[in-house]
Amino acid sequence: MTQCHKAALAFVIPSLLAFVVTGCGGKEKPTDVVLVTHDSFVISDDVQAEFEETSGFGLQILQSGDAGELVSKALLTAGNPQGDVLFGVDNNLLSRALDGDLFEPYESRLLDQVEEGYLLDPDYRVTPIDHGEVCLNYDKEWFSDREIQPPQSLDDLTDPRLEGLLVVENPATSTPGLAFLLATVAHYGEPGWQDFWRRLRENDALVVDGWEEAYNVRFSGAAGEGDHPIVVSYASSPPAEVIFATPRPEEAPSAVVRDSCFRQIEFAGVLRGARNEEGARRLVDFLLDERFQEDIPLSMFVFPVNRAAELPPAFEKFAVVPESPLELSPDEIGANRDRWVKEWTRIVLR
C-alpha cells in the first residue's frame, strides 16, 4: 500500500466512525431540550441563558426553512420528532398540523395572561406565542411628493389613480402573500375576492415570488430603490426601518394601511414522542414568560401575546396594532387554502 492510499484510508475510516458515533445518543435522562423552529426564530443570548439557568436544561435550536417547510417536516416525522417543542406553526397552517396529530396537549399556567382571542385550539395542543399582522405598507415620501392621497383601504387599490403602484407576493410561494390573499377573502368573501383580484390585475399590480424581492428590491420605501410605493409587508416593518437605519431617522419612512391587515398568530406545542417531555413543557412556559415575550418584538418583529409584556419604545412609537384585523378560522383556511391559491394563480398569473 502506498503512502497515498494509506492517507486516504486514514481519512475515510475515522469519518465513517464519526457518523456512527454521533448517531449513537445515550438513553439516559436528557439534559437538553430541543426546539425545532423556522429560520426566522431568534432568541437573545441572555434570554436563552436565563432559560437554561432556571430550567436546568440546555436549549438546542434546530432551524428548518420557513413555516411551511417546518410543518411539512414535522408531519414527516410525526411520532418520532427531531425535537421536543415545535415553534412557528401559524393559523394558516394550524389545521394541517393538528390533523397530522403532531402535538401532545399541554395547558400552560401562563395562558391566563393571554387574550382569549389568540387561543385557537380548545384542546391546548398548541399555545399561542406571538402575533403579527400582514398589512399594506406605503412609502410616505412618494405620496407626499406627488400630493397623491395614499391608499386607505383594499378598495383603493383598484382605483385607476393607483395604477401600477402595488407589489404583492405570490401566495403560492410566500407567507405574507398567502396572508394577503386570505385578507381579501376575509374582506370580500366568495366570489367577491376573485373579482377584486381581476380588477387588481387590470390595475397592473406586480406579483413577485418572495417578500425579499418585494420589499428589498421593488418597494420604494425601504433599502432598495424600487419604483413601487405600495407593498404587502408587516405592521412591524415601519419600526424596523427606524431601528435598522444609521443614523436613526425621526420618523418611519413608511406607514401601514390599517384596514388591510390580516392577523397571523404563531403557536408552539409539545411534540408527540418528545424525548424530553418535562423540558418541553418548561420551554413552552418560558416562551410565554414575560422575559421571552419582551424579547420578541426586536428579535422577530412580531408582537407578544402576553399582556404583561411591555413593548420597546420604537415599537410603541412607530408600530401599528390594528384593533380589528381581518381573520379567518383555521378550519376554514385548512379546508380551502389550496383551492384558493389555485384559483388565484389562474386569475392573476395565467
Binding site: 486516504a8 438546542q60 432551524q63 417536516k73 413577485v208 408587516y234 424596523a240 398569473l349
Partner: protein
C-alpha cells in the same frame, strides 16, 4: 496493494457512499410519497395535467438553450486559459469561479438590479443568469483539459497548411470533445434542476420541475404528486447522463497528455493578444458587472457609502444565532471537510471509471452524476425520514451538512480527474509493466502524478462548491451553526437597511474567500508542477 483490493476500494467506497447518503434517503421519501394517498389513478392526474406538461417543456428547453449559450461563452475563454500563460492568469481563473458558488438568491437580486427594464424577468433573465453561474464549469473543465493537450498536434496541422479554423474544427475540437461533453452535461443538469434562479428571475409565471416539486412537497404537502414529479425529473436526468456518458466514451480520443508547463506559452503575436483580450473581456463583462453591483450594494448606506455593514459583522445579530463571522468560520470548516470527502470518494471513483471501459464503470460514472440532477427538496426530506433511528439518527448532526455538500461536489471531482486519467497513453503503462513495474507502482508513478494535478484542481473546486452550496443544505434541519449562504439568506429575509447591507457584505466576503482559495490552489498547483 493488490489489484483486487484496489478495485474493491475504487468501486466499493463510492458505491457505498452513494447508496447510504443518496439512494437510501431518496428511495425512502419516494416510497413514502407513492405509498400515501388513496388511489394511484387520481395521483397520476398530475402527469396528464396541462400545467405539468408546460412545466416539463419549459424545464427542458431552457436547460438546453442555457447549456448551448454557456458553452458558446465559455469556449473562447477556455482556449485562452488552456493555451497561454500571462500575468493575471490565475486571477482570471479564480474570478470566473466566483459566480458558480454564490448563493442563487444573492445573484438573482443582483441581476434584478443590473438587467434593463423589461429584460429583468422571464426566460431571457433565466438564461443570462444560468450562463453567469455555469460558465465556470466550462472554463474549468474544458480549460484544464485543454492545458494538457499537446500543442504540437495542431502545430503539425498548421504546418500541413490547415488554417486556424480548420485546425480548430478538425484537430482541437475532436480532442476536446470528452471534456466538452462532460462540461455540457453538468451545465445541463444544473440548468435543468435550477431552483432559486427560476423562482426569482423567472417570476411567478415560469416554473421548472424543481420549483413545482417544492410547491407540491412543501407548500401543499402532497407527497405523492411531489414523488411522481421527482421521478419524472429523475428519468430525464438519467437519460441526459446516459447520453452524455455514451458521448464521452465515444469521443474519448487518445492524444498525448502533456504537463501544463510544457503547453502554456506567452502570446506571440498581436492577433493572439487581441483574441485573448476580447474573449476574456466578454467574460469579464458578464461576470464582473453583477459582482460589482453586489460590492456597491454592500457599501451603500443611506445616501452615501461606508463600511458600516462590514464593521457590524462581528457583533451578534438578531438575524442569526451566531455572529456573522462565526458563519464564515463554519462555512470554511464544512467546506474543508466536504472537499476532503469529495476528493477521497470522487478520486477513488475516478480511478474506477478511468480504469476500464466496460458497462459497469459507465454505470458507476453515470450514477455518481445523478445527485446533481436529483431534487434537493426530496433529498432533504429523505434525510429526515431515512436516518431517524439509532444507531444512525444523525438527522440533526453537524456531519450531515458536509456529507450533502460532498454529494454535489463528487461528480465534479470525477469529471475533472477522469478525462486526464483516460488520456494517459496506455503505452506508457505498458512500457512500465514491461520494465517490471508492479500494477501498484504503475499507478503510483504514472497515474498518480498526472491525476494528482487534476485532483488538486478538483478538490479546490469541491471546496468552492461546498462554500456556496445552498440548495441541499437549506432543506436540512441545521444545528445553530449557519453557513455563509444561509446567513446571507437570513439577513435578506429581514427588513431594515442594515440587514440588507450585511447580506451583501457577507456575499462579498464569500466571493473573496472563494477567489482567494481558488487562487491559492492555482498557485500551489503551479509550484508543485514546477513552474520555477
Amino acid at each position: 496493494m493488490s489489484a483486487r483490493v484496489w478495485r474493491a476500494l475504487t468501486y466499493g467506497v463510492p458505491i457505498a457512499f452513494l447508496a447510504l447518503f443518496f439512494a437510501y434517503p431518496l428511495a425512502s421519501i419516494l416510497e413514502r410519497g407513492l405509498g400515501s394517498g388513496e388511489d394511484l389513478a387520481s395521483s397520476l392526474d398530475v402527469l396528464t395535467d396541462q400545467l405539468t406538461r408546460d412545466v416539463v417543456w419549459f424545464t427542458l428547453w431552457q436547460a438546453v438553450v442555457s447549456t448551448a449559450l454557456t458553452i458558446a461563452v465559455g469556449l473562447p475563454a477556455s482556449y485562452v486559459l488552456g493555451r497561454y500563460t500571462f500575468r493575471g492568469r490565475s486571477v482570471a481563473l479564480a474570478a470566473v469561479t466566483v459566480p458558480f458558488v454564490l448563493p442563487t438568491v444573492v445573484v438573482a437580486l443582483a441581476f434584478l438590479a443590473v438587467l434593463p427594464e423589461g429584460l429583468e424577468r422571464g426566460w431571457a433573465a433565466i438564461l443570462i443568469a444560468h450562463v453567469f453561474f455555469n460558465v465556470a464549469v466550462v472554463v474549468r473543465v474544458v480549460g484544464t483539459f485543454w492545458a494538457g493537450l499537446d500543442p504540437r498536434v495542431s502545430e503539425a496541422a498548421a504546418t500541413l497548411g490547415a488554417g486556424p479554423v480548420r485546425s480548430l474544427r478538425e484537430v482541437t475540437l475532436p480532442l476536446l470533445a470528452p471534456a466538452l461533453a462532460a462540461a455540457a452535461s453538468i451545465v445541463f443538469l444544473f440548468s435543468f434542476t435550477s431552483f432559486g434562479i427560476v423562482l426569482i428571475l423567472g417570476g411567478p409565471r415560469y416554473s421548472t420541475l424543481e420549483t413545482e416539486i417544492y410547491n407540491q412537497a412543501v407548500r401543499i404537502f402532497d407527497l405523492r404528486a411531489a414523488a411522481i414529479l421527482a421521478l419524472v425529473q429523475l428519468v430525464f436526468v438519467a437519460l441526459a447522463i446516459w447520453a452524455a456518458t455514451r458521448l464521452e466514451q465515444r469521443l474519448a480520443a487518445g492524444g498525448q497528455r502533456r504537463q501544463e508547463r510544457d503547453v502554456l506559452r506567452p502570446f506571440r503575436t498581436r492577433t493572439e493578444k487581441a483574441i485573448a483580450t476580447g474573449s476574456l473581456g466578454l467574460l469579464a463583462l458578464l461576470v464582473g458587472v453583477p459582482l460589482a453591483v453586489l460590492i456597491e450594494r454592500s457599501l451603500a448606506v443611506g445616501n452615501g457609502y461606508s463600511l458600516e455593514a462590514y464593521r457590524t459583522l462581528g457583533r451578534s445579530t438578531d438575524a442569526l444565532l451566531a455572529t456573522p463571522w462565526e458563519a464564515v468560520v463554519n462555512s470554511l470548516v464544512y467546506a474543508a471537510v466536504a472537499a476532503a470527502i469529495a476528493a477521497v470518494v470522487g478520486g477513488l471513483a475516478a480511478f474506477a471509471v478511468a480504469g476500464s471501459r466496460h458497462g459497469g464503470t459507465r454505470l458507476l460514472d453515470g450514477l455518481l452524476m445523478i445527485p446533481l440532477g436529483a431534487s434537493a427538496v426530496m433529498l432533504g426530506f429523505g434525510f429526515v425520514i431515512a436516518f431517524d433511528t439509532a444507531p444512525i439518527d444523525f438527522r440533526s448532526s453537524p456531519w450531515i451538512v458536509p456529507v450533502v455538500q460532498a454529494l454535489v461536489a463528487i461528480p465534479f471531482v470525477v469529471r475533472i480527474v477522469v478525462p486526464t486519467l483516460r488520456a494517459i497513453d496506455d503505452r506508457q503503462r505498458e512500457a512500465a509493466a514491461v520494465l517490471g513495474a508492479s500494477p501498484g507502482r504503475v499507478r503510483r508513478e504514472i497515474d498518480l502524478p498526472v491525476a494528482g494535478r487534476a485532483l488538486g484542481v478538483a478538490a479546490g473546486f469541491a471546496f468552492a462548491i461546498s462554500l456556496g452550496e445552498f440548495g441541499a443544505t437549506v432543506f436540512l434541519a441545521r444545528p445553530d451553526s449557519p453557513t455563509l449562504p444561509v446567513a446571507i439568506f437570513r439577513f435578506l429575509s429581514r427588513p431594515g437597511e442594515l440587514n440588507a447591507g450585511q447580506a451583501y457584505a457577507l456575499a462579498v466576503i464569500l466571493m473573496a474567500v472563494v477567489a482567494v482559495s481558488v487562487f491559492s490552489i492555482e498557485r500551489i498547483r503551479a509550484l508543485r508542477t514546477g513552474w520555477s
